[in-house]
Symmetry: D2
């Protein structure tokens, strides 16, 4: 089988995870990853056997890797020249600059949710708009929050035909490996009201009406969404049916806080560590079964989002969408997830 | 002037604060406070000159105070016999038992929000139903959260005539002086959906339709409410008018997170420490001006609640309501707050 | 009585506290405090009746206060011209610049522990070297940590004649009102070994041999010192005698973690709030009685330091030392503390 | 090759990790793990193919697993009857009871550091006393803290011939998956002075003189040790040589906080996640290179301990010691670690 040649531009928090997930797929291969200079991450790439490139085409910067005994194959341009598609995992604000490079290289490109929808004019999440992205030249895989909202809201929308949603995002204030950021003992409301998080869902599913408020709190593990969704008349659902729907939804885990002894995000992440994926990642959205309740037409529920990793499998599906190799999103999801599971057969 | 004789049953977190606030009023005096046995709090009472009684009528327990050189005047019954009104600040679950004692003593009584509305069949908060409590025999001063919601929602309701509200309560997981409780690094959704917090507002203002969701987070300082309120057609308000309304509302502080450099609850409480009330208390509800936004008929805003103290002035007003000494709630509020301000003239 | 005219240059976290403590003394008065521009702190000064000056002599900056309706009396030079002594509470790095201004003004000056000993060549803490500072032109009041170490080590040294000390400082990572700093969930060793904290004691008591290590942890309330002190042969002390010594030491509180139910710094600060000083401050060093143990000649103990306020009374004593109005440090301490207690007679 | 048949009694935090590490070895196999009843952990065991037994011999309890579709092979006695050695990973306080069962079964046994040394009269850690445990009937693998101290102190002792140590343990207050415990915002000194942690080293290396103090802080990731070690005259070491010694020591990682950008335990654990072991574990002790300093004969350093996992490889080595299959501790360590590395070849 001919495999899709994937370049990863930026081998950090998201890039290293995407690279591993791509590497686990039979129909794809990593042709290279970039780093700005020699550092710990280069060793990670070497250990995985990923060819290492420099983020820049600057000769001096490329040769700086030699000093640290890392084998740098060249600059970004060289990497792009051997790839079918590049997944941009660079830190924010580099989007516009990088986009030009990708276009010049004439290859397909994917950005992450840190970039705005307007950069590409097209966004992606597996369950919402795989078809709209089929054979597109480039797109943006939406953020962890938008991905999480889409996972539970899209099947609900697909059943009901319309949906009005309000969400309060209780956000982790820093990632686990980030020791600089606070607060240590405070709650920080995001004073842009409504926050940008909810409406971003409309970039992949414009028919869902949604707004959000956000606060940051002193935890590093996960975001929690406190969601209120108004269903249209005649939805024919009840609490149990909604729970069943989500139990049948890919990349959604429904567990009972009380019976399964998972009262907080601490226990959710502990469960994720038991699953055994690298970094203790949880690609799935976690819904508390006993926190779901439909009262009349108004649905209340909580879900938890592993901000570091829920978008990883979406990046894999998105490669198949852009490359036009798998038209059906559910088939792609199934391929992606089964390959990842085999990979982490601890 | 004849002063109202007030007994405090339970001199802990709430009791000590209520006692100080009552003591600051010209029309009231503390005739005694109770402790279950000799402890640090007895010294506090002695320093303030509050007569000390035992929570129980048990002779042995009463005499146990002597061993620690605290002057205990007798048991609860004796305290009740010299009081016009008792403010129950005992820990939860004691309500039903205590209620019988208060009725037997034939004096007026007030419980705190830890007790259920059904215990007294009547609840109180200054801005919502002072009149309904006028000359009543006993009542319940609602909880910190209900008080906080009432402070901003009641004036809105009074203007609009109807109101539908959803609130996500982001709660502090432990009080500042409580080192036992976690979580240290997690978010804990309250899996009773909807939570009891919002609907409790209807015990003082039944016309406001309200539900809530709640999560606990690793902070000790304040609760934050993330609120969505649907106003009826023809409300005639805009964002600015709503902010002005709250600026004119007693016990509501409106400040700008950005301009006033108060981005989180940490800075709110720092501002409270500058005000100089004992314990660094903040009796007022804090609303972020730049977090208020009316879009169509839907209002979004954040407010912060000092869970240890916002109900303190309400307890004072409630004494005047029960005793029938001040019919107008705003006059009582004004008396209460001005007396407290003088007291803490640091 | 002629009072000492005190200027406070910098009315922030330390400045506002020092101003209040000076204001409470019979033999001193605040002739002015400085702010860089109009802000919340100006209102605080106005409320207290402290004349307000601008940190700079710049006319434009001075007039900027008018726009906010604050009554600014002039620039720093004007303030210095009416003062006997200036207490520099400016943020770090301004020391050298400010020192020149104070010398030009020909008045006495005091810096805080954020400045280095070398700036003034003289440092101060009440119990260690009041005499050496008597009638000096200027000095530096040592930091919260050095003050805390001196309070318990100096009496021990005075009894024993020599002392070798090692201390691990477990530091709060951010102040309560600072929401920017992390870490949220990590321990951060201070990789300068030994840390600067311990040796700074030798600027006020050169005979004490001391080193320290430090870590920062995710709390805002207090520093904790874990101390090992080697006593010389023939010290004649035992655990009980050392505890008694500290019980008799000014500005040291000894309480029992178990019996007094004060297991952590959370309960220590709660006790401080009950004392009722503004900002819930604790000027005293807190020693856990049940954490003190002498084994052979080696003494182990823990103490907690309120980093925001323990140096406040030392600043007052230091004024008397520089101005030559009170030769005996214990008499000054007694005056200072009794005046502060009266002030906060809540 | 005949493999050693290992039973794991208790398949929780430690048990599941030990089982995985044993399972990775060529010379050992898991013959069964126990659970008290059907729960999430049973699924983990099933996924790994570990035979599942009940902690009790009670028929009713054994059959309770059937109801949840878990295949329970029988009670503890049956498991012990097919094992060569049992590793007790039960929660504390069960030691004495379990010891009798193991003795009755006539097989070798290992306890964890939660039990006291007196239970077995023998303790184990790979680098300190593998030889003393060779062919012994039963032992106790020491705790995470004792293991961590031994890893860096034993090579130092072996070089110097004597060692006097003081350690302040800055402990994580709760494990990552434990959301109940606090404190959220405080430091808690362990008021038993000296703490039991340091002296426990003497159960495996009696010649090292050591005491310790301990505090708990609001973090979940790692313990940090702040260590002072007095070397005897004529040690012939300097800071660089000590760092080199540890770089050559198995299961010790030395990295530079500044250059490697690992300033806190957050970044240490992030590095561990990159290594890719299950649960993101770090079996190695982490020493900050720039936190090591020898001044005269006194050595100062910091190390971080992953409390959930550092004892895991020691449990593997200990099996070989008790079974008498590998006399040389370094050879065992090498086998253990290389097998674990292959297992986690992510």
């Amino acid at each position: 089988m001919v495999t899709i040649k994937v370049a990863i531009n930026g081998f950090g928090t998201i890039g290293k995870r995407v690279a591993d997930a791509i590497d686990a797929q039979e129909d794809m291969e990593i042709v290279g990853v970039t780093k700005t200079g020699p550092s710990f991450g280069c060793g990670l790439a070497a250990k995985k056997g990923f060819p290492l490139y420099c983020t820049f085409d600057d000769v001096e910067k490329i040769s700086s890797f030699d000093d640290s005994d890392y084998d740098c194959k060249g600059g970004l341009s060289e990497l792009l020249s051997v790839a079918d598609v590049v997944i941009d995992c660079a830190p924010g604000k580099m989007g516009a600059t990088n986009l030009q490079k990708y276009k010049s290289a004439g290859i397909k490109y994917m950005f992450q949710g840190g970039e705005k929808h307007s950069l590409t004019g097209l966004s992606y999440t597996s369950c919402a708009n795989h078809k709209e992205n089929f054979n597109a030249q480039g797109t943006r895989v939406v953020s962890c929050n938008t991905t999480g909202l889409s996972r539970t809201l899209v099947p609900l929308f697909d059943h009901c035909g319309s949906l009005k949603v309000e969400c309060t995002m209780i956000r982790r204030a820093a990632d686990p490996g980030d020791s600089d950021k606070g607060p240590i003992n405070a709650i920080k409301p995001v004073l842009k009201v409504p926050s940008h998080h909810g409406p971003d869902v409309m970039t992949v599913k414009p028919e869902i009406e949604i707004n959000s408020l956000a606060v940051a709190v002193p935890t590093t593990l996960m975001h929690v969404h406190s969601i209120i969704a108004d269903l249209p008349e005649g939805h024919g659902l009840n609490t149990e049916k909604i729970i069943e729907m989500w139990m049948d939804t890919p990349r959604v885990i429904v567990m009972n806080g009380k019976e399964d002894r998972i009262p907080t995000t601490a226990e959710v992440m502990e469960m994720a560590r038991d699953i055994g994926r690298k970094w203790g990642d949880l690609h799935e959205i976690f819904v508390w079964e006993d926190g779901v309740k439909l009262i009349g037409n108004r649905l209340y529920y909580f879900q938890a989002i592993h901000q570091e990793s829920d978008v990883i499998p979406e990046n894999v599906d998105c490669v198949r969408a852009l490359m036009g190799t798998e038209k059906d999103w559910k088939t792609s999801v199934s391929k992606t997830d089964s390959a990842i599971s085999k990979y982490y057969n601890l």
